[in-house]
């Protein structure tokens, strides 16, 4: 990770993209004379063209539109053309921020995402370490089971988990002796159920990635530590975790992003956000505002809030990566 010797590495973060563009900086070993590269300056852009067109049309433009709609009065009347759209300024945001339900949903989203991230990372890392301590057969079994959970579509995972915890026909209540206790009735038990499903389908990514990372650690280091009598926890804390830091950053950030955006599980398992919206998270909340009550501008404002939060997470991530001097 830190052994790259590319000339780009010296580029300071602030001067991103400025120093490496000049034609003179092109390494001579590119061998321009060896091939007909008369228009080589345009070639990368030609290669990038399809990707950039798609992203501009379907990502950048919709983001602009999202921001725009959040500043407009945009309900069913405007959509059908019955009334002209009017500019609201920050009106939608004021409405949103004065709505106690919004704050409640935001808090629930943050707490739920945090619980998902922490449990996913803990389980994923613990099982990755476990994988290194067992022989091929148990390893294969666990790997295969995890890949199965990983591959399961969110919607079928949700339906299966709801069924497993069904008060009438599910095996879980029967085994635990809970009778006809309904998991989706109470707010916290419903969130707990969704958390279990999210954990089930997202720990494999962490486990597989961290396991791949552990395998890349020189065995001598771990061997020496084990010979010195270090406990597994100590080996993890003082050797593996620091060496795996780049990988851990990646899986943490990916988990934050995924778990902050959970939609399908909440929507399917709690039937659109739970009783009286008790299990709403921002994503589902925005969807319900926009498509169930036709308040497209409020839904867009919620979307902008999500965008800003995730952008902040991304910036933190970029800082962390940059601080490690990693080359892009």
């Amino acid at each position: 990770m830190t052994t790259h010797t590319s000339p780009l590495k010296a580029t300071p973060p602030g001067a991103a993209g400025a120093g490496d563009g000049a034609p003179a900086a092109r390494p001579p070993r590119r061998g321009r004379s060896a091939s007909p590269r008369t228009h080589s300056g345009w070639t990368p852009w030609l290669y990038l063209l399809p990707a950039l067109v798609l992203l501009a049309g379907l990502l950048v433009y919709p983001i602009y539109q999202l921001g725009l709609i959040s500043f407009l009065e945009y309900t069913q009347a405007q959509v059908s053309g019955g009334e002209p759209t009017t500019f609201q300024g920050f009106g939608n945001y004021t409405t949103l921020f004065n709505d106690s339900q919004f704050w409640q949903v935001l808090l629930a989203t943050v707490v739920f995402a945090a619980a998902c991230v922490v449990s996913t990372l803990f389980v994923g890392c613990a099982l990755a370490v476990l994988l290194t301590r067992v022989r091929a057969l148990p390893r294969l079994a666990l790997m295969m089971a995890a890949l199965g959970a990983w591959a399961t579509p969110a919607i079928t995972g949700s339906t299966v988990w709801v069924f497993l915890f069904d008060p009438d026909f599910g095996p879980v209540n029967k085994v635990l002796g809970l009778g006809d206790f309904s998991w989706t009735y109470g707010r916290y038990s419903a969130f707990a159920l969704v958390l279990l499903e999210v954990l089930w389908c997202s720990f494999p990514f962490v486990m597989v990635t961290v396991y791949a990372g552990i395998r890349a650690i020189p065995t001598e280091v771990l061997e020496a530590a084990a010979l010195d009598g270090a406990s597994q926890w100590r080996i993890w804390r003082t050797i593996m975790a620091p060496m795996l830091k780049p990988i851990l950053i990646v899986v943490t950030i990916q988990s934050i992003i995924w778990d902050f955006k959970v939609f399908t599980q909440i929507y399917v398992m709690t039937n659109g956000g739970g009783i009286a919206g008790q299990n709403l998270v921002l994503n589902v909340y925005a969807y319900q505002k926009a498509f169930a009550s036709s308040q497209y501008s409020l839904g867009s404002a919620i979307g902008v809030v999500m965008l800003v939060i995730l952008l902040a997470v991304t910036l933190v991530y970029l800082r962390l990566v940059r601080r490690q001097g990693e080359e892009l």
């Binding site: 990770m1 780009l8 991103a16 993209g17 563009g21 000049a22 390494p27 061998g31 007909p36 300056g41 990368p44 852009w45 290669y47 990038l48 990707a51 798609l54 990502l59 433009y61 983001i63 709609i69 099982l127 994988l131 301590r133 067992v134 022989r135 148990p138 666990l142 295969m144 089971a145 995890a146 959970a149 591959a151 399961t152 579509p153 919607i155 339906t159 988990w161 069924f163 009438d168 026909f169 095996p171 089930w200 990635t209 396991y211 990372g213 065995t219 061997e223 084990a226 902050f260 939609f263 399908t264 925005a286 969807y287 867009s300 919620i302 979307g303 965008l307 995730l310 970029l318 892009l328």
Partner: protein, 280 residues
């Protein structure tokens, strides 16, 4: 690794028992899904949930395929996911080549933009995309699902393919040019086959996100159910009075199997590919 295997014997046995136990627990929901799909109606709606069945039946599957035009939804899902996978792989391959084999102005800026783009909550874009699709007359078409998924799969695919393209030695490129190969020829006949394993690993992600998509399918296919994809077909079996669990589990099984097959086929490449993308 071998060093770690040399831990004390009871310790290892305990670890292996734990690993097997966890594997069983993790696989159990999938087992229960398939089992319930094959259970006859009487058993599935019975209060003593037995973990086996003595009279497997295909009734639930038959109901799914007959009542709900499921085969059509299945083909739609396959068509959408397949198109996205192929197009995304080609477009991302070109873009990844551009950002790894060339030095040009704004290269680093572009890379950062690709990274930031991965963080965008695409669910939040459902609202503007809905209006975009409406304005272009794409609502209720499979195109309304293909286009956004194609675009959203690109940033991650480009980011991940970078490592694979970078791994191809530059000397190879020079040799090809010296031998008189054109740039296009190098790109498609030399670089593309070498990067192909990486493309497979990447395509797992675009396939899965597209195949699993629920939100766009729900939002953009609103009136023409002949264009529906599998997730929507599944929801039909949820009824306010009583859920048809047999139908739901059979439908879930049908929906899960293609992804599982895809995963098992590419799992080795996936693990090494992920390692490559992460460590880079």
């Amino acid at each position: 690794m071998r060093a770690l295997l040399r831990v004390k014997r009871p310790g290892r046995l305990a670890a292996e028992a734990a690993a097997l136990l966890i594997a069983v627990a993790v696989a159990f929901p999938l087992y229960w899904m398939v089992l319930s799909a094959f259970k006859p109606a009487g058993e599935i709606q019975s209060t003593d949930a037995r973990p086996w069945t003595l009279a497997p039946s295909l009734d639930s599957f038959r109901r799914v395929f007959e009542q709900q035009d499921f085969g059509r939804y299945f083909l739609n899902s396959l068509l959408v996911a397949g198109t996205v996978v192929i197009l995304s792989a080609l477009v991302a391959f070109l873009a990844a080549t551009a950002v790894t084999r060339f030095r040009f102005k704004f290269r680093t800026t572009l890379l950062i933009m690709f990274l930031v783009a991965q963080m965008v909550p695409v669910e939040a874009l459902t609202i503007p995309l809905f209006f975009l699709m409406r304005d272009f007359g794409q609502l209720n078409t499979l195109g309304s699902l293909i286009l956004p998924h194609l675009a959203f799969s690109l940033p991650f695919a480009i980011w991940m393919l970078r490592g694979f393209v970078k791994a191809v030695p530059e000397a190879l490129e020079e040799a090809a040019y010296i031998d008189g190969a054109s740039r296009t020829r190098f790109l498609w006949q030399i670089l593309f086959p070498l990067v192909f394993p990486g493309l497979v690993a990447t395509s797992v992600f675009s396939f899965i996100t597209t195949w699993n998509d629920f939100l766009f399918a729900k939002s953009f296919i609103i009136s023409d159910t002949s264009q529906s994809t599998l997730p929507m077909a599944l929801l039909v079996f949820f009824k306010p009075d009583e859920n048809d669990w047999g139908g739901i589990m059979a439908g879930s099984t049908v929906m899960t199997i293609p992804v599982l097959v895809f995963f098992v086929l590419v799992q080795r490449r996936l693990v090494s590919g992920l390692g490559g993308a992460v460590k880079d």
